[in-house]
């Protein structure tokens, strides 16, 4: 973990949208405030602070104008980590990769002194830590996540319980195997959240190399299917997976969310860089 944190040291989470809600911080908000970023002039109205009157403009126009500056808001980052049973699959393991990425994002947030809320989701949404600030809290989070188990199925509608009182970025790290996961994008969009979906997949999910006679067991439901695996089945399966990825990308694009495919044999730092868009 230490080596990984060193690798991502240079990355930075920066919101693309102006922040609407939340406390005072160092990112551009939608309102007017006391920052150093000049916004414009407006005519003086009774009740305005006379200290804000631009006297130089008065000498030229003989009219009273006040200077306006942009507001600065605090960035709030939500990290939502899928810990359903299906995440505990593959070599390298999807859960290991997802947890590393989630902790990496948390570290970046805490390092740049922004506010962080960390959730895990399966049958329920569990808040691990809320409104954390400062790097000193990272060790605590690391310990909490060290032995976190994977179980149950993913119910994305539980994300409706997510605290949306502050504007910011929500990172969702999941294998997206629940059918109606797109609904949650609509919900988060309404609350002005920037959304980054990190889609975690194992290489063996993309290109399966299995025995001929198979008894497949669903990791989440325990259901069984017997199947004769051959090259035709393999080709058909791979086609389905490709379609699934394309469909997920389309869902994200249409909702202005960012989609990042995280195959577990990729370097975590590469995935994280894509997620915070340093390459763009």
């Amino acid at each position: 973990m230490e080596a990984f944190l060193k690798e991502i040291e240079g990355l930075k989470i920066v919101p693309k949208k102006m922040l609407k809600k939340g406390g005072r911080g160092s990112y551009k908000g939608t309102g007017r405030g006391d920052s150093l970023d000049f916004y414009g002039h407006r005519r003086y109205v009774a009740g305005d602070d006379i200290r804000k009157i631009d006297w130089l403009a008065y000498t030229r126009t003989e009219e009273l104008y006040v200077k306006e500056f942009t507001e600065e808001k605090e960035l709030h980052v939500n990290v939502v980590l899928d810990n359903s049973a299906s995440m505990d699959y593959g070599d390298p393991n999807k859960w290991e990769m997802a947890r590393t990425l989630a902790l990496g994002l948390s570290y970046l947030t805490l390092k740049q002194k922004d506010s962080l809320s960390f959730y895990t989701i399966n049958d329920d949404l569990i808040c691990i830590q809320q409104y954390m600030r400062g790097k000193e809290n990272f060790f605590n989070l690391l310990q909490l996540m060290e032995n976190a188990p994977c179980r149950g199925t993913t119910v994305f509608t539980k994300l409706m319980q997510l605290e949306t009182g502050r504007s910011g970025i929500t990172f969702v790290i999941s294998d997206l195997l629940e059918k109606n996961w797109s609904e949650i994008l609509d919900y988060l969009n309404v609350y002005g959240q920037e959304i980054v979906i990190i889609h975690s997949l194992a290489p063996s999910e993309l290109t399966p190399n299995l025995a001929e006679e198979l008894k497949l067991i669903d990791k989440e439901t325990g259901k069984i299917r017997k199947i004769h695996f051959n090259s035709t089945v393999r080709a058909s399966y791979m086609k389905k997976i490709r379609e699934f990825i394309a469909q997920n990308r389309e869902i994200c694009t249409s909702r202005e969310a960012q989609y990042v495919l995280a195959v577990t044999d990729m370097l975590p730092v590469t995935i994280l860089a894509r997620a915070v868009e340093v390459f763009k």
């Binding site: 299906s86 995440m87 699959y89 999807k94 294998d175 195997l177 194992a202 999910e205 299995l210 025995a211 001929e212 006679e213 198979l214 008894k215 497949l216 067991i217 669903d218 990791k219 989440e220 439901t221 259901k223 299917r225 017997k226 199947i227 004769h228 051959n230 090259s231 035709t232 089945v233 058909s236 399966y237 389905k240 997976i241 699934f244």
Partner: protein, 565 residues
């Protein structure tokens, strides 16, 4: 139907692997997946598992049939007609002399062609035996068809060995039917002789020796042809000093010539410079000086023995006080200590001057003259005026050869037991004036020389070198070829200087010179791989048919496998 290569049937043992692989492929493997959703969709798209099971069984059957056919094809099945005709034996001379070149071909190649020509006159159902005549003649093929003989002839090659006529005669006597000898020599062994080679225009060095005192090399040249020939013989030493002489050798005669060499000569090489039929006997090597001396170990020091041995420049003498593990690796041992014969190596050549008690007969009182018996060790030894006081007589056993005796009773005798060659001597050197006579070193030299001549210390083409226990040795041949001598014995095929090396250290030099005669009655030789008895001419070769069926089945298997994909 019979199989020409029945060992190929052993491949059948691999057939269960095909079945096992099928069973393994059919074994259901449990696999956990993150979601069945995709698989359910795939299953819906692709259906028809019943058909697949039928195809799988069919695939197994085809693959088993393929395996069985391949195994049978490897065993070379064939239908034969039985040979019931007369039996003929070709005795093909494979000895060194057959390498003689006449025009473009060697006599050996001519002999093969003669056999093929002769076979044309034989009936198709003739059963043909092939005997290879060499040092240890062997029955190479028995009851072969003509085709098989043609195939066998291609594999047979000529050796560097000397023809042992007596052994060849014993082999040929066991065979029925007409025996046809094919050779370039006039051998009266069979019913018919096919003589190859119009002439044997060859000069060969049959022996050479070196006089350490005068530095003269004595060389014996033989002219094998009937016409007198002018021979040019050269002598070169390690410093490239040369002597060259030309002289005439009468047809069928041997001539001795002398050549002058330096006294510090190392490795002397004699060479007949004329081009003749056989190149193999044109070179003779005389190993002299340090590094090539015969190594003699004197166990238990004795002034007289040491002086007599050390004055001979052919020997390199070392002395040890007792027998131990360091005593191995010498050519000859002179043992002046009480040591049991069982302690000595199994192939030792030794002179034992401290005779065990069980070999002693009785002690004669008084002074008696010593007498030599007839034999190679009596050369230049007269023993006039040689006396001994109170001699101890030895018990003579059957097979023992007496060397020195007193009034007909042995004092020194030569005994060969298994591979051990031992000279026992009860001659008390302190009680005899023999040590003061010039006869003593000559007698010792004769005895040791006899060891070298008769006990595999003299190497010729076909001599065998056995591995040394506990040593990892490498044999380097005259052309630099290297052979490991760790487990298997190695045959010295070529004429020239061999080196036995342990790592980079030369342990022993071995010189292989041309044989003194091209026909002899002794010595061993290696055996070649023999052809087994043939069942008759093949009238139907099933191997090709099976291979064609295999190809058809492969296509069928591919088609069925494609359906399963």
């Amino acid at each position: 139907m019979k199989f020409l290569n029945p060992w190929g049937l052993l491949g059948g043992l691999l057939l269960p692997i095909i079945v096992l692989l099928h069973l393994k492929r059919r074994q259901v493997v449990e696999e956990q997946v993150p979601s069945l959703a995709f698989w359910d969709e795939v299953i819906r798209e692709l259906e028809g598992t019943k058909r697949k099971k039928i195809k799988k069984s069919l695939l197994l059957l085809i693959q088993l049939a393929l395996g069985i056919l391949l195994v049978l094809a490897c065993a070379e099945p064939a239908i034969f007609s039985s040979l019931k005709g007369e039996e003929v034996t070709f005795a093909l001379d494979c000895s060194l002399a057959m390498k003689a070149r006449e025009g473009e071909e060697t006599h050996f190649q001519q002999a093969k062609e003669e056999i093929e020509k002769f076979m044309e006159s034989l009936a198709e159902d003739t059963r043909i035996n092939i005997v290879l005549l060499k040092n240890e003649s062997e029955l190479y093929g028995e009851k072969l068809s003509k085709n098989k003989v043609r195939q066998a002839l291609q594999k047979i090659s000529c050796t560097n060995e000397v023809l042992n006529v007596e052994f060849a005669s014993q082999v040929l006597q066991t065979l029925p039917g007409e025996v046809i000898i094919v050779s370039n020599k006039d051998l009266q062994l069979g019913d018919k002789v096919i003589q190859v080679g119009k002439s044997f225009a060859n000069l060969g060095i049959v022996a050479a020796n070196y006089d350490y005192y005068s530095g003269i090399v004595l060389c014996r040249i033989k002219n094998y042809s009937n016409n007198p020939k002018e021979a040019v013989i050269s002598l070169a030493d390690h410093q490239e000093k040369r002597d060259i002489q030309s002289f005439k050798v009468q047809g069928g005669a041997e001539t001795d010539i002398t050549l002058q060499s330096g006294k510090d000569a190392g490795l002397l090489q004699l060479k007949i410079e004329n081009q003749d039929a056989l190149a193999e006997d044109n070179t003779f090597i005389l190993p002299l000086g340090e590094g090539y001396q015969q190594k003699i170990l004197l166990v238990g020091d004795n002034f007289f023995l040491h002086s007599a041995l050390a004055c001979n420049p052919k020997f390199q003498v070392e002395t040890r006080e007792a027998w131990d593990d360091q005593c191995l690796g010498y050519d000859i041992y002179v043992i002046n200590k009480k040591i049991g014969v069982e302690k000595l190596p199994p192939d030792v050549c030794a002179l034992m001057t401290n005779v065990p008690a069980q070999l002693m007969a009785d002690r004669k009182k008084g002074v008696y003259p010593l007498q030599m018996t007839e034999g190679s060790w009596a050369k230049h030894v007269k023993l006039k005026e040689a006396f001994i006081e109170d001699p101890i007589l030895l018990k003579k056993e059957e097979g023992d050869q007496v060397i020195v005796e007193v009034e007909g009773k042995p004092l020194m005798l030569y005994r060969v037991k298994d591979k051990q060659c031992i000279v026992y001597s009860s001659l008390d050197l302190s009680n005899s004036n023999l040590v003061m006579l010039p006869d003593f070193p000559i007698l010792l030299d004769n005895i040791l020389e006899d060891f070298f001549m008769n006990n595999n210390l003299n190497y010729g083409p076909g001599s065998t070198i056995y591995p040394w226990k506990g040593k990892s040795l490498e044999l380097v041949g005259p052309k630099g070829q290297k052979t490991s001598l760790e487990e298997l014995p190695v045959t010295l095929d070529e004429v020239g200087l061999y080196q036995l090396k342990e790592g980079e250290t030369v342990v022993k030099h071995m010189v292989v010179n041309p044989p003194a005669t091209l026909i002899s009655d002794m010595e061993n030789s290696k055996q070649s791989e023999a052809v087994k008895q043939d069942t008759g001419p093949v009238i139907f070769d099933l191997q090709n048919i099976m291979l064609i069926i295999v190809l058809i089945l492969l296509v069928a298997e591919w088609e069925v496998a494609k359906l399963d994909l």
